[in-house]
Symmetry: C2
């Protein structure tokens, strides 16, 4: 069991912005100039510090929870509750920017162990107190919210902050597995594993702040997923505390012992229980990393090449493809957006591993991509992508500051429906937001049978950016549903996607989810409002 | 949509034996001589034809079911019911060999479509008639049995034979997927796909008779799983008929739309619904196939080499390793069994694909295996394995005929626990069955983090072979549970493994299964007795 060196601890994020406040800042002048070529620039600062509503939870409950986890880890002060209000979607930030902290928890409880989690759940179940698990606080689909409509049926809302549970519990170098506590942030987990020469290799854009438990609870997928897999594919074991007892799953990498119940808790978003241990496949730290760029005549040609690689089981570690608009932005040429001959489409390929493995994979992939008509651009575009891979959320804050509304959404489908889905979502967003809106897209993950599409939208925020965005998001979701695609590939359901889940899994699927929810959380206190329609 | 050419239809299996009666026969003289070196040989023929119990289902119900599927597809004759009694485990065969047909269904109903399946389920739910889905009839863990204890609470037992549902419903060559009906046997599905230049690549030992629906419902794993994956990993979509409605899952290869409900129906053994369509990843037919043998000094050295391949993501299409005893038997040297220097351990490596892909993979794997101390044996052992890969169940019948009890069982664990599990199961079987028992084992599937162990047991059957086997199976299961391993890697739970499932998934896991069962099958008519403790 390894404790985390405090030097590796990630800072806490402010309520109104992404990330480390030390890294945040206004737009650099040259970027501001570029942005002003496309959008009207206005001054849209975040609200001055706003007090959160007074805690509604009775003091007797607070005291009882303190008896479980200790006085120091039951917190009701405004600052602590404020930064655990909602997640980091643009709507979340917009609400906080105008001073709306109505979704704040009544109390933040920080358990230090599985047993403390279990005791908190038991207490809250008995006293009908809602429990919202909080890992990195990076949720982007409303997964950390108990809405105003539901609050009156609870004695209060606990934010169950798992940030004290940051240990590496076990390493099995023979089996290449490690058992991690849920509160470890991405870099923290990697730092602990690196002491053993190992790594996890899960790098979503939220990597620097998101937590191991959150990756599991939301079925996260990272930028190296072509080589290392989605997070759910890395998981071989789970321990989950529920109000009716705890469950420890993962007798073997795979088995035929009935339904795979790990897949029931992966993606369960705290609605069925709280994940307290995650056992994952780990790998040796790569000896080298190479990131390259490729140019394709258009999005379809690049996507077809990705499909050929995936169907040949010949995937690099990193593989992503920007559409024409996103490519133009990446090349800092916003003037070229929408132009058909705007430099084609940029693909990033990355290879990690031993020098021999990298060389072999790189040679094989290069041969295929050349044959299919790709133009190699060398390592510069790859290095540039790698350097900025976690920076986009900071840029979003800076753009919100100047009145530009930026948000992302993502979906997935089978290859034969990729183009239809791409067009449908793009048209829905452009149609809802009108002229002057930029819709960018990239293929963020590929499978043999399909891929995900990750959209970024930028549009003038206007007077009421939240009211401007919500219908556009709804239009995009409806387009996704019409295409029969996934309402989310790696951002989870939360409260935002819940209205669309029934279309995807059917009434019978919803019936199954409800049955599990009712059986494991009979009092209905676990993250009420998310996931289950 | 493609109909199956009748030339591709697999024959029906007799009740007391495996496979095509035309392929069955007594032990060849040289084999009989080898066997007699190890076991006492006695004459143990199957019982003469025995009448099955009279159908207990009221004729009004039979008529109502005939109104759904047609008169010709509701069958109550003895022959039809007899060959749908139980599956093909050795206990199943032993019971049938002594004339025990007490578990026969009352009626065999053969729906022709999803809608007919749904209508049968609705009728049976309303009238409390048990429904046991029947695909290939190759179940080996008691998955086709409604026991005598449960029968009185049902109006009767329907064997829901899916053998009329044998169409290839759709092929999507761009996405590399195909949608198959559940009644297609392995060779039938491959024949339909081959017309499109495609294949599935799922070759369990039961391949020739087992069905697509059965593969999905039991989480089957095949002999080419190193290259093509377990069956559950091939599935991207499922349609399931349940008594409360139908569900169509698979919006994308993977998604974050909550728990993956496909994984709830995969392995559900007909207890939650009847799988009526399966969409799978398909591949181009391989241009070439190469199978080779490698010799290892001992089981541990060979297993470590497999682990290195899996952890390097460098797997051939076929990879299996026999322990010393199984190697001796394969080499027709039963005299060497138990001797430490009995020729080491035989590994089979197989490569399928384009000539270029085969050459590249073969070269890379060969380099690793040589470095790790393997001795290449050329293609002869590989070809020999491939030629006999589906023959073992026929040999089992021939051995039962001469009084030798043969059965298999399998499990899976993480690499660090492989040796402990191997020894524990072997000792449990040897301890329970006593001297003169042969326990053979091979690693049948590998993952980066672990592997499966597949045991074959041969022992003198004595006067009461069934009573001799059941305590040995129980001892093996208890050893598996003590090791924290999977009670089954690819044979499902059925009725045989049900007593051990709670130890593996915990009370909370069982609670979740029960909740789903209750919600989707409120009348409790779907394959009652299997899976859910």
């Amino acid at each position: 069991m390894t404790e985390l060196d405090t030097a590796h601890r990630q800072p806490e994020m402010p309520a109104t912005r992404w990330g480390d406040p030390g890294e945040a800042g206004p737009l650099p002048d040259h970027v501001r100039e570029l942005v002003s070529m496309v959008f009207p620039i206005t001054d849209a600062p975040a609200a001055e510090r706003v007090d959160v509503p007074a805690p509604a939870l009775d003091r007797a409950h607070t005291a009882a929870l303190a008896a479980v986890v200790g006085d120091a880890d039951v917190l009701v002060d405004d600052a602590t509750r404020r930064i655990r209000t909602r997640g980091k979607s643009t709507p979340d930030l917009l609400r906080q920017r105008v001073g709306d902290l109505g979704d704040a928890p009544d109390v933040v409880v920080r358990p230090g162990s599985h047993d403390e989690v279990a005791a908190v759940l038991a207490y809250c179940g008995e006293h009908r107190i809602a429990v919202v698990p909080f890992g990195g606080g990076t949720a982007v689909t409303g997964g950390l919210v108990v809405g105003a409509a539901e609050r009156p049926s609870y004695a209060g809302v606990v934010s169950l902050d798992l940030g004290r549970m940051r240990r590496l519990l076990a390493v099995d170098p023979v089996s290449s597995t490690a058992t991690l506590e849920p509160g470890l942030r991405g870099p923290e987990a990697e730092a602990l594993l690196a002491e053993h020469g190992l790594m996890l290799g899960h790098y979503p854009q939220s990597f620097e702040f998101a937590s191991i438990g959150g990756f599991a609870a939301t079925r996260s997928s990272g930028q190296s997923s072509a080589g290392y897999g989605r997070f759910d594919a890395m998981v071989v074991g789970l321990r989950v505390a529920t109000p009716v007892g705890d469950v420890h799953l993962g007798s073997a990498p795979a088995n035929a012992s009935g339904p795979d119940l790990r897949e029931l808790f992966l993606g369960s978003e705290g609605a069925f229980g709280v994940i307290t241990e995650v056992t994952v496949r780990v790998r040796p730290l790569p000896e080298m990393k190479v990131y390259e760029g490729w140019q394709w005549p258009d999005f379809a040609a690049g996507a077809d090449a990705m499909r050929m690689l995936a169907q040949s089981d010949l995937l690099p570690t990193v593989l992503r493809l920007s559409d024409e608009n996103e490519t133009s932005i990446n090349l800092a040429r916003p003037d070229a957006i929408g132009g058909d001959a705007a430099g084609g489409c940029l693909m990033i390929t990355g290879y990690e591993g031993t020098p021999e493995a990298v060389a072999a994979k790189q040679a094989a992939v290069t041969e295929v991509l050349r044959k299919l008509g790709g133009t190699p651009l060398g390592t510069e575009p790859g290095e540039s992508w790698a350097a900025g891979r976690f920076a986009a959320p900071y840029l979003r804050d800076s753009l919100l500051d100047v009145g530009v509304l930026v948000e992302t959404l993502e979906t997935a489908t089978f290859w034969s429906k990729r183009d239809e889905l791409y067009r449908a979502v793009k048209e829905a967003l452009e149609g809802a937001l009108g002229e002057g809106t930029l819709v960018l897209c990239h293929v963020s993950h590929v499978y043999a049978t399909g891929c995900s599409l990750y959209f970024t939208v930028a549009t003038p925020g206007g007077e009421q950016p939240l009211e401007r965005w919500l219908p556009a998001k709804a239009a995009a979701c409806e387009a996704i549903v019409r295409c029969g695609a996934a309402i989310t590939h790696h951002h989870a359901v939360g409260t935002d996607h819940k209205p669309y889940l029934t279309a995807e899994i059917g009434e019978v699927g919803v019936t199954a989810l409800r049955a599990v929810k009712q059986a494991l959380d009979p009092a209905g206190v676990l993250n009420p409002g998310v996931l289950v329609p």
